[in-house]
C-alpha cells in the first residue's frame, strides 16, 4: 500500500512538472518565453490570446521563462485595474515565437515615449569556459547612448530598440549608461555580477524626460562549457615508458653480460672436451 501511494506521488509529481512547464514535453516544438516590464509607474495585466497570463505585473520585473508551443501570439496589455481585459489596451501586439527559440517580450517605451512591445531573441549558444555573456538592450524613451563597463565604453551609440552583445571574462563589472559620445551619466553606475556560463541581459527602461530611467536585469543560466584540458605535467618522470627504473636497465645490462659470458664459457667447455 505504501509503495502504491509513493508511486501515485511520483506520477502526480511528473504530471505537475509537465503542467508547470518544468519539463518541456516537446522541446522541439516549444519556445522559451520571458516577459520584461519596462514601462515605469504602470502595473499591468498581460493577456495572451485573450487569456489572463500575468496579473498585476509590476514595472521593472521579469516574468518567466514559460514554455510555450511555437506559434504566433496576440499579446494585449491593460492597466492593472482592468482585470477583464476589455476596452482599449495600453499595448496590443502579436509576437511570433519559433520552435526551440528563447525569446524575451519587452513591454517598453519607444524612443518617442509610446508604449510598445518588442520581441528579442536571446542567444543561448554556449559561452567559453570562464566567460560570461553580456547583452544590453536600449528600451527606454531616450536618445542614443553608450554603455560603459568599468569606465570604458563597451557598446557605442545604441538606439531604441537595438541591442549589443559581448562575451567577457566572468566577474563583477561596474556599468553605467551615458548619452552617446559624452560622459553625461544617464543611468548608473550599477554593479553587475556576470556569472560564469550565464547570459546577463540588461534593459535600459523608462523615460529620460520623465527622469525615470532605470535598469532591469534578466539572466539565463546554463550556457557554460568546460575548460579544454588539464595540463598538469611536463617532466615525464611518471611515464611508464621513461619510467622504467634505472636499476632495472642496469640489472638488465648486467644480466645480458652474464648470459653472454656464460654462453661463451659453455661453448668453450663443449669444444674443449
Amino acid at each position: 500500500m505504501r509503495r502504491l501511494i509513493s508511486m501515485f506521488g511520483i506520477v502526480l509529481a511528473a504530471c505537475a512538472a509537465m503542467l508547470l512547464g518544468g519539463v518541456p514535453a516537446h522541446a522541439d516544438t516549444m519556445a522559451s518565453v520571458s516577459v520584461v516590464h519596462g514601462i515605469p509607474n504602470t502595473p499591468v495585466n498581460v493577456f495572451v490570446n485573450g487569456k489572463s497570463t500575468l496579473a498585476n505585473f509590476k514595472p521593472g520585473t521579469v516574468a518567466g521563462p514559460l514554455q510555450l508551443p511555437a506559434g504566433t501570439y496576440k499579446v494585449t496589455i491593460f492597466p492593472a485595474a482592468n482585470t477583464a481585459g476589455t476596452g482599449t489596451p495600453v499595448i496590443s501586439a502579436s509576437a511570433t515565437v519559433t520552435a526551440g527559440a528563447n525569446v524575451t517580450l519587452v513591454a517598453h517605451l519607444s524612443a518617442a515615449g509610446k508604449p510598445t512591445l518588442t520581441p528579442f531573441v536571446n542567444d543561448t549558444s554556449t559561452v567559453a569556459a570562464g566567460q560570461a555573456r553580456l547583452v544590453v538592450r536600449h528600451t527606454a524613451a531616450a536618445p542614443a547612448v553608450d554603455v560603459r563597463a568599468d569606465g570604458k565604453v563597451a557598446f557605442k551609440a545604441l538606439t531604441n530598440p537595438k541591442q549589443a552583445m559581448a562575451d567577457l571574462p566572468a566577474g563583477s563589472i561596474s556599468a553605467d549608461v551615458v548619452l552617446a559620445g559624452t560622459s553625461t551619466v544617464a543611468i548608473g553606475p550599477a554593479t553587475l555580477n556576470l556569472a560564469e556560463g550565464s547570459d546577463t541581459i540588461v534593459y535600459a527602461i523608462g523615460s529620460a524626460s520623465a527622469k525615470s530611467l532605470a535598469l532591469v536585469v534578466q539572466t539565463i543560466d546554463g550556457l557554460g562549457s568546460a575548460p579544454g584540458g588539464m595540463p598538469a605535467g611536463s617532466g615525464g618522470f611518471a611515464s611508464p615508458d621513461n619510467g622504467i627504473p634505472t636499476g632495472a636497465w642496469l640489472a638488465s645490462g648486467i644480466g645480458a653480460a652474464l648470459a653472454l659470458a656464460a654462453g661463451l664459457r659453455l661453448a668453450q667447455l663443449r669444444t674443449g672436451r
Partner: protein, 241 residues
C-alpha cells in the same frame, strides 16, 4: 670423457646463463606490471554519478519538479517573477577550498582558486606543490556537481609534483578538503580512471550537475618528450563520506 669437475663447470655456466637472461628481461616485466589497463579502478562509475539526479533531500539548488510552492498554483502555469529590477536572487557563495589532505599518499597541500588559461585549458598553479581548484565549478559542500582539484604530476624544472602518486591511489582511500571556514569535507575514493587527453570527458569532470562529488586529476600515461606533455589524464572520483 667428462669428469665430475667438467660437469660442475657446465652446470654452473648454464645457471649463470639462465640468471643472466632473466635479469635482462627485467624491463619487460616492469612494463607488463604497469599496463594502462591495470591502472584503472571502477571505470565508468563517475559517468553514472554525473548523470544521476540528486535526491530531493540533498538540497534545493536543482530545479525541483515537485516544488510544493508551485503545485498550489492549480492548472495555470505559475510564472516566476523576479525583481524589482529583475535581479538574480543572490546565492551566498560557498567558502572556497584551501587545503587537501590524502594521508595514504602523504599529501597535505595548499589549494588555490584557478580559472581558465588563454588557450582555453584549466590554469594550474605554477608551484608543483600547490593544487588548483576550478573556481567556476562547485565548491565543497555544494549539493550538486563536481568539485575539481588539479595538481601537477611533475614538471621538467622541479621534478615530481604533489599528485605524483595519484595514479596509485586506491578505491576507498580517504580524502579531505578544508574550506576557508575551516570546515573539513571528507570524501572516499570510488574510482580511478585514465583517459587519453583527446578523449577526457571534460563536461562530466567539470559538470555542475549530477551527484555531489570530488574529482582529482593530474597527467599520466606515456610521455611525449617532443611536446613535453603526457598522453593521458589520471582522474580520481570521490564521494562525500
Amino acid at each position: 670423457m667428462a669428469g665430475p669437475a667438467h660437469r660442475g663447470r657446465r652446470a654452473g655456466a648454464v645457471l649463470v646463463l639462465c640468471a643472466g637472461l632473466a635479469l635482462a628481461m627485467l624491463p619487460l616485466g616492469w612494463l607488463a606490471l604497469h599496463r594502462p589497463g591495470d591502472r584503472q579502478l571502477n571505470p565508468g562509475t563517475a559517468a553514472a554519478l554525473a548523470s544521476s539526479v540528486p535526491s530531493q533531500l540533498d538540497g534545493t539548488a536543482q530545479p525541483s519538479p515537485t516544488g510544493t510552492g508551485q503545485l498550489k498554483a492549480s492548472t495555470a502555469p505559475s510564472i516566476p517573477v523576479t525583481g524589482p529590477g529583475g535581479s538574480r536572487p543572490s546565492q551566498p557563495a560557498l567558502p572556497v577550498p584551501v587545503r587537501l589532505v590524502i594521508a595514504s599518499m602523504s599529501v597535505d597541500a595548499p589549494v588555490v582558486a584557478e580559472g581558465v588559461s588563454p588557450d582555453g585549458q584549466m590554469s594550474i598553479p605554477a608551484d608543483i606543490d600547490t593544487i588548483g581548484w576550478y573556481r567556476w565549478g562547485p565548491a565543497p559542500g555544494a549539493s550538486t556537481g563536481s568539485v575539481v582539484l588539479v595538481g601537477h604530476v611533475d614538471s621538467a624544472a622541479s621534478g615530481p609534483g604533489v599528485f605524483f602518486q595519484l595514479r596509485t591511489l586506491g578505491v576507498g582511500a580517504a580524502v579531505s578538503v578544508t574550506t576557508a571556514d575551516r570546515r573539513v569535507h571528507r570524501y572516499r575514493v570510488i574510482s580511478r580512471e585514465e583517459f587519453p587527453k583527446t578523449a577526457v570527458p571534460l563536461h562530466q569532470i567539470f559538470g555542475k550537475s549530477g551527484l555531489a562529488r570530488l574529482t582529482l586529476a593530474t597527467c599520466g600515461g606515456p610521455f611525449d618528450t617532443a611536446t613535453r606533455s603526457y598522453r593521458d589524464n589520471i582522474v580520481i572520483t570521490a564521494v562525500p563520506s
